[in-house]
Amino acid sequence: MFTLKEDVQIRPLGDAALVLQVGHGIDEAIHKRVKLIMNLLESHPFEGLIETVPAYNSVTIYYNPVDVYFSNRKKDNKIPFEIVKNCILELLTKSVSVESTKERIVKIPVVYGGDMGPDLEYVASYHGLTPSEVIELHSSGDYLVFMLGFAPGFPFMGGLNQQIATPRKDTPRLAIPPGSVGIAGSQTGIYPLETPGGWQIIGRTPQSLFLPNQTPPTLLQPGDRIRFYPITMEEYNHHLEVATWA
């Protein structure tokens, strides 16, 4: 058992949100603390809390200043930011224990190369590798989802093998098809929606990442472990057909 108060800094994000900074850098230990803070806030919501958003080393808390102000029974004339800040600091003094829940492993099928992964050849030649070696390295990795952002269900993942880390494209593409799997620096990700983007696209998954009619509305959640596995074009089409009938 321990408390989460240490190393947490609070700063405003405008007049209706604040950020809890939890250490620095991309780090699995920090990620675990971020998850614990999320759980604590969601199980003990204060009056006026709208929602919380986790990131690599922060949790952003959105609140309604009017509701916060009128719910403050102390009537000490404190501004909403101070009321929320005190409330959070008090909450963080609670003892927590590290969860023993198992990590979820999500396997993602990917067709690599060809029209589905137009930048596979480039990534290979950039590193002096063959396309199959890139596929082998990419699909043997174990990736942790640190956060979702950029687009609904877009996972920010860590764990890419440095041997295939590749800079973004100089000129971003105007439209990247949904399901595209890409590399940008030492990150790898999957585009849930058609969006412009500068990532090197090495493949595509038939799996939908954004599921607006389900709860939760995304396939992946922060804390999930991802493994990619190569499939053929035939398997890709079969998967899409099954998804249509499901």
Partner: protein, 332 residues
């Protein structure tokens, strides 16, 4: 029955106050760019303040009413007419069956809001009627309105019904209206108040001085997602790596080209550019009513001033609710 779109105009979408609770999944908040105008429009027709309405951008939108409806038009003045005659804004208005409401051109401001007593009947997606264009969800089939679309209004509240009946007897609108000037500013040059952003201290002194004293012009790259500005370049003292984290409506980011971007209603949930400032909540509607070539002067205030201004605005909105109740009783 219902309301038929004769001309969609430039961009007309259904918006409420936004989709909350799902940002952690990367789902944007969206919602009305000028939330205060939408809230007032709803209050005027007896709706809950957070009901969905139409956000009409700049010009062209033309609607045919296939039934009598009680509506209110607020926000920017896009010169609305009813069967060719200019029609007043900021008050309850009865539109009779067969009438055509048209928005001609922006006289002042940029976005008008139309509330319909009883609300617009579209399904909520993740607890919101707001249209999320890029994901194709919410609002009217997840898209902007198109020619020949027809939508229905819901059942009027007791207050909405009372106003509806009152306007059936004499004039189609009341002589009184909301004095909007304390809520919305429709000038082309505005002072917009900000508080310091998380990375404020990382910018060099000269840049901060310029940011707070020089004019910044809104470029043509200005939409529901964000406004790109043009003005004196803003530079960091030294480059540094910033990890993506939560951003919000009114966050002012500065990418490496030194030209600020203000994040608007359809912003992404997270961002990784340094944040020099954050526009205060009460001034967001002012910004929503600006368009390309308009000029902004930023002025720094404290967080305390920002939150006090917001509490004061809410008090004014409550006074407005009370005044409307009084008016209604007077007309009984």
């Amino acid at each position: 029955m219902g309301i038929k779109v004769l001309q969609p105009g430039m961009l007309t979408t259904i918006q409420d106050l936004g989709r909350y609770g799902v940002q952690k999944f990367g789902v944007i908040v969206g919602g009305a760019m000028d939330p205060i105008s939408l809230r007032i429009a709803n209050i005027l027709v007896g709706n809950s303040h957070d009901e969905g309405g139409l956000e009409v951008t700049l010009f062209g939108t033309t609607l045919l009413f296939e039934s009598d409806e009680l509506i209110a038009i607020t926000g920017g003045n896009l010169r609305p007419t009813l069967d060719g005659e200019e029609v007043p804004m900021w008050r309850p208005l009865l539109v009779q069956k067969g009438s055509v409401l048209k928005f001609h051109a922006a006289v002042s401001g940029c976005r008008a809001y139309v509330s319909f007593s009883g609300g617009i009947q579209v399904p909520e997606v993740m607890n919101s009627k707001s249209t999320y264009l890029r994901a194709g969800i919410g609002g009217f089939h997840g898209r902007k309105l198109q020619k020949k679309d027809v939508f229905e209004c819901g059942v009027r509240s007791a207050v909405g019904e009372e106003l509806f009946q009152q306007l059936q007897t004499e004039s189609i609108y009341f002589p009184w209206f909301v004095n909007y000037t304390s809520f919305v500013n429709l000038q082309k040059t505005k002072t917009i108040r900000i508080i310091r952003g998380s990375e404020y201290e990382r910018f060099d002194e000269e840049s901060i001085k310029n940011f707070l004293s020089m004019p910044y012009k809104i470029t043509t790259q200005a939409d529901r997602m964000g406004y790109r500005l043009e003005g004196e370049e803003i530079q960091l003292k030294a480059p540094f790596e910033l990890l993506s984290e939560g951003v919000t409506y009114g966050t002012i980011q500065v990418p490496s080209n030194g030209q600020p971007i203000i994040l608007m209603a359809d912003r992404q949930t997270t961002g990784g550019y340094p944040k020099i400032g954050q526009i205060i909540s009460t001034d967001l509607p002012f910004l929503a009513q600006m368009q390309a070539t308009d000029t902004i002067h930023f002025q720094e205030v404290t967080l305390e001033e920002a939150q006090k201004a917001l509490l004061h605005q809410e008090k004014q909105l409550n006074e407005l609710r009370m005044a409307l109740r009084f008016r209604r009783l007077q007309y009984k």
